[in-house]
Amino acid sequence: MTTFNLPDLGEGLPDAEIREWYVQVDDIIKVDQPMVAMETAKALVDIPAPFSGKITKLYGKPGDIIKTGKALIDIEAEISAKKNIDQATVVGNLQLGNRIIDESPLGIQQKQISTPNQNGIKATPAIRALAKKFQINLNDCKGTGPNGQILVADIEKMIQQKSSKENGTTTNSLFSLASGYEPLRGVRRVMASTMKQTQLSIVPVTLVDDADIHAWPEKTDITLRLIRAVMSACQREPRLNAWFDESKLALCKHNQIDLGLAMDAPEGLFVPVLKNVAQESAVNLRKTIDKFKLEVKNRSISPDDLLGATFVLSNVGVFAGRYATPIIIPPMVAILAAGRINEKVVVEEGKISVHKQLPLSLTVDHRVITGGEAARFLSALMLDLQAA
C-alpha cells in the first residue's frame, strides 16, 4: 500500500481544495486514470492515478484543503510499489528464490585426490574404436603398453585368437586382406580412386531420348553417324564442347571437337581421343577408330592419344543397355551415351510401322550447362540422326 501525496500542481501554490472524487474506497483504478478534481486558486486540475491498484483510503472530502506534499490517497498497487520492497539492484530483475541449499559447501569428498585413478582401462580412442569394430572386449585384452595400456598389437593378437577359434585360419596382420579379396591394379585402380573424387563437385543432369533412325541406309556406320550428329549439335550449342575450371569458375569453349571415344577392354575403360573430328574425312575417322581399338586391345595405345578430349561419346549399347547416366570426366562438361538400337511400333500416316530407335543419354554439368542448352543439343543430335 502506498500513500500518494498531493504533488506540486505546477503553480507554486501551497495547497489545493478537493472539488470532486471520481473514485471511492475499494475501487480498482488503472494508471493515468483521473482520481480527483483539485481546485487551486487558478484552475481546476484532474489528478491521474500514478499506478494501477485498489483505493484503500481517501484523505478528505470535497471542500477539504490538502497541503502540497501531504497525503491525498492510499492505493494498494497491483505490483508492489518500489518504496515497500528494496529491489536490491540498480538494473534488471533479481529473482528472489526460496530454495534452501542443503549440501556441505565442500561438496562430496573424494577419497584419493592427489593421484589420478589408475584402475580404469587405458586405451586411446583409436584403439577403442578398433576394438569395437572387431568386436573385441577391452576388458579381456591384456595391455602390453606402459601401465597396462592396450596397444594395436594387443588388439591384433585378440583378433587372431578370436578368428582361429572361429574358423581355424590365421591371418598375418591386421591390415592384410580378408580372403577372397584381390587388390585392384592399373586402370581399374585409378578408376576406383579417382572416380569418387572427380564426381564430388560435378552436378550431373541426364536427359534421355530416342532418335528414330528408320531412314538410315543399310550398313550405316553407327559410330560415324553419332560423331556427325555430335558435330552438328556442338555447332548448335558450343558450350557443351568445353572445359570448366572450377577453382576459377571459368569456362573454355573449344573451337574444335576432340572427341573421346569410350572403349572397353579387360583392363578397364579407355577413352582414346579423335582429334579435330570436323577436319577428318569419314574414311580417316573409321581408320583411326579401328586403329585405336586394336591398340587398346594390345595395350599399346600411346598416352598422348588418351589426352585432351573435349567431348566424350560412349557407345554402351553394343551389348545391352538402353539408357544410362553416363559420368562426365572433368574438366569436360558433357558426355553422350548411345544405347542399344531397338525396334518400336510407330504410327506413320495412319498405318502401323516398325522403326528402329537409337536411345540417347546426355549428361551435362549443371554448374555450367543449363537444361535448355542440354535439350537443344539433344534436339540437334536427334535431328541429325533422324536424317537419312
Binding site: 506540486d8 505546477g10 503553480e11 507554486g12 493515468d32 529491489q87 540498480v90 530483475n93
Partner: protein
Amino acid sequence: MSEVARFSIEYTRFLDSKGEAQQDLPVFTHSMHELLKLYQQMMLTRLFDYKAVALQRTGMLNTYASTLGQEAISVGIGASMQREDVFCPFYRDYAAQIMRGVKMSEILSFWKGNEWGNHFSECPLDFPICVPIATQLLHAAGVATAFKLRKQARVVVSTCGDGATSEGDFYEALNIAGVWQLPIVFVIDNNQWAISVPRKHQSHAQTLAQKAIAAGIHGEQVDGNDVIAMKFVMDKAITKARDGHGPSLIEALSYRLCDHTTADDASRYRREEELQQAWQEEPLRRLKNYLINQKSWSNEEEENFKKECEKKIEIAVAEYLSLAKPLVTDLFDYHFAKLPPDLIEQRIEAEAMFMLSKDLGNG
C-alpha cells in the same frame, strides 16, 4: 613569482524558478511560437517519461532511466542542432532524441531489451544511448574529427552526467577536442547525483565547467532548468564550433527528480526535503508561468495539449507493444557483413533449439 594564468566561469540564466525574467531575454524568445514549441517539447517528453515509468511499474518495460526534471537541457540541445549534425547521448536525452526523429517506440524497445530500438529508422546519423559511462565522449570526438578532416560544416554534440566527469575518457575527450580544435560541444547534465554519490563527493572542483580550462577549451555554466538559457548557450556554442572556432564544455545545472533508474530507490541515500526543494526549481513550471504571464498560454490550452500528447504517446506505446519479438536468428545476423562458417553452425543449432522449444510449447 608572477601569475601566468587565470580563469573565470560564466553562468547564464534568464528565467528564475518562478518564471520571471532576470535580464533581457534573447532575440529568439520574441517569437512566442518558438518559445511555445520549446515548452511543448518539454511537456511531451515529461508525459512520455511518466508513461515509460508507468509501463515499468506495470511489468511492460524493463529497467528504465527517467529524465524527470532534466527536460530543459535536452530540449535546448535538440532545438539548437541541425539535421546534419550528430548527437552522441548518454541515457537521459529523450527530448533531443525525439526532436531529432527517434521514435518513442524505439526508446521503449531499447529499454525492453530489443536491439532494434537502436535502429533509429528516422534518425540515421545519431548514436544510440551509451551505457558505459563517458565512453561516448570519445566516440563523439572521433565523429568531430571526421567532420574536420572532411571540412564539413557539421557539429557533434555529446552529453554526459556529472559522475562521468570523473572518468578518464572525459578528460581524454576534452583534451583531444582542445588540441585539435574539434567541432564539438560537450554538455554535462549535472543533475547532482551519480546513483548515490552526490556532486560534492564526485569532484573537488568548484564547477565541472572549469575542467575545460585544463583542456584549454571554453567552458561555462548554465541553469539547465531554464530552457531559454539552454538554447541560448547551445546556439552560441554550436555556432562557434560550426564556424571552426573550436569546442565548448557546457555544464548545465539541474536536479535528478527521479531515481537513478526504476530499479533504484533514491530515498535510501537522499533526503525527501531536498527533493521537494528541487521540485520548486523544475523547468516546466517556470516556463509555463512565464508563458501564462505573457498571455501566450493558458491552462485550457495546456489541458488540450496534454490530451494531444497523451494520444501521441498512446499510439507510440501501442506501436511498441505490438512489435514482434526478436527472432532467435537476430542473435547472429548482425555481427558481421557476412556470417562466418562457425557462426552459421551455431545459428542453425540455435534455430533448431528454438523450433524444438516451440513444438514442445515451451515458447
